[in-house]
Symmetry: C2
Subunit: 330 residues, 2 copies
């Protein structure tokens, strides 16, 4: 294994030093492992907190800033952050209007965020939670009861973040976050596994002719192994899985997401097929992202996430955002 690290034991701390040095718009509490937007807490604004294992960058720390998250807390690589981090983050962003926890559906994350929410309540901080579970690949999996949370997390963070910026109350922000999750579906495909530094070898093996359909963002097994084939066919298999779950129609927001090790060139080739597929179904990608947003270390492959938009969701998606990973309008 060759990695650009100093030591397996200091990966998260070293990363946070880099994030702090690179982004003066953020305030990084390295000791407590929390990334805040510089001006947190904002009085009267609902605070948005997310977190999860490291290794999925720019998720979540790269989405902290105006119009999106107020704080994010990273765990060790592919490991949930601990409740103490979540409590610290919640306190740090609470401006009196309460805090929304955005939680990807993995058992460790769910348990820890639940515990944190209870302890926050004990300290007088009002917390609501939204569970993201957009991955249609499998019902249960290695680290999950129910569907996994993947690419739609970005949609939830952006759209709920835009609503929170308007001064909307906690219940409304939580309701909208839930709606975004419900309207979103994802499916991922791996060509090769990522390597967790502490393990020192790829999380699974695929031969030169195999792909994994329905892969999870920690390399959890998907639906099936299959034969490698043209991008066109692979894209269709992914879109079929989504369309079989909820038929696609109308205006959609599409994320064609790289898993970390796939060239952007290839992501565009897949995106062309996704756009063609949507058109066939009478749906339209009216907003789109193509790039590495919810990664799995250096895994090769992609995931596609689709959110069926409403006028309100489109307007909030278009609202200004200023984070390291997503920026427009300012």
């Amino acid at each position: 294994m060759k990695k650009l690290i100093n030591s397996v034991d200091t990966i998260v701390t070293d990363t946070l030093h880099g994030v702090a040095a690179a982004h003066p718009s953020l305030r990084v509490d390295i000791e407590n492992r929390v990334i805040y937007r510089r001006d947190a807490p904002r009085q009267g604004k609902v605070g948005l907190v997310s977190g999860g294992g490291a290794g999925h960058e720019p998720l979540h720390g790269g989405f902290v800033g105006y119009g999106m998250l107020d704080a994010a807390c990273p765990g060790e690589v592919f490991t949930s952050p601990v409740p103490d981090q979540m409590i610290e983050a919640s306190k740090g962003v609470d401006g009196g209007a309460g805090v929304l926890h955005i939680v990807k559906n993995y058992t460790g994350d769910v348990l820890n965020f639940e515990m944190a929410a209870e302890l926050c309540a004990d300290e007088g901080i009002e917390v609501a939670s939204v569970l993201v579970n957009d991955d249609v690949a499998v019902q249960d999996s290695l680290y999950t009861a129910g569907r996994r949370g993947t690419g739609a997390t970005l949609f939830v963070e952006k759209i709920a973040g835009a609503l929170a910026e308007t001064g909307a109350p906690l219940a409304e922000v939580a309701r909208l976050a839930q709606e975004v999750n419900e309207r979103s579906r994802s499916f991922g495909v791996a060509l090769s596994a990522g390597t967790v530094p502490a393990a020192g070898k790829p999380t699974f093996d695929l031969s030169d002719t195999e792909i994994e359909l329905g892969i999870g963002i920690h390399g959890e097994p998907g639906r099936t192994r299959s034969t490698h084939r043209e991008a066109r066919e692979i894209a269709r298999l992914a879109m079929d899985a989504i369309n079989d779950d909820v038929p696609l129609s109308g205006d959609t927001l599409v994320l064609l997401n790289g898993m970390g090790g796939t060239p952007l060139l290839e992501l565009y080739i897949v995106y062309a097929e996704v756009a063609a597929y949507l058109e066939e179904k009478g749906a339209t990608a009216v907003r789109r992202l193509v790039g590495n947003y919810v990664t799995s270390l250096d895994m090769q492959g992609f995931s596609v996430s689709v959110c069926r938009l409403t006028d309100e969701l489109t307007r909030l998606w278009d609202a200004p955002v200023e984070t390291p990973g997503l920026r427009w309008g300012r």
Copy 2:
């Protein structure tokens, strides 16, 4: 080899279809292989054209848009575009104020852009050219007489693009582009090679304990092979190479660039060391980018580029830009 492609022969065309579908702010001429900003040509504005082999995305097509390039033309993977593409692009962006060609210093690119410039002149289009040659690793290399052009290309495109947006004349935009190149230096390191689809295997082999110092963006050999080591040491080797060439001081713009296959997590770890190195030397990174900007397919590794800023360059760097790969201020 597993790639997300339909066929080795249709990679560039298929990519352009994806770019066209993903970015309505661009106009993609798929037949002639040119990516334009939607509103080109802009009357009275100098047009900026760049281009180069595919496989370095988001360079160059991802930097087409307001405040940066007016057009980009991609060649086949790691292969120069042909003069016809460059002429077509130049005609398409000429708003009467002339056209600047931004050329990375590789023999094929240089010859083809020279030929294109002559043919443009014959047709009455005024063309100036700037040669980017920021890579301090080697004096000559596989595809280059003189230093190679790498990460500073982004600096030149952004800063010259901002000046062009103000209505500055061609000679002034060309002079500034030249100044940005002269003030910039880069150095790259590979942990593993990328795979060119037509070749079907990695462009070179590195053992599990080796790295290549001074790697080029096409996998050209660098200065030396060395032993893999801590990110801290590798970052220092890269920064030493730059600092030995031109001592670092004052305000700098830093690009910590991923080669395409390296997790963002690792890039931040390297960036922390780069920032510390600059501070030691009494220099400051006042503007910074960390991410995949000038890639080499799925190569694992990074390059670091440093531009010694002036007040004018900082102001133009900060000016609004709206492209798929770089966006702020609008």
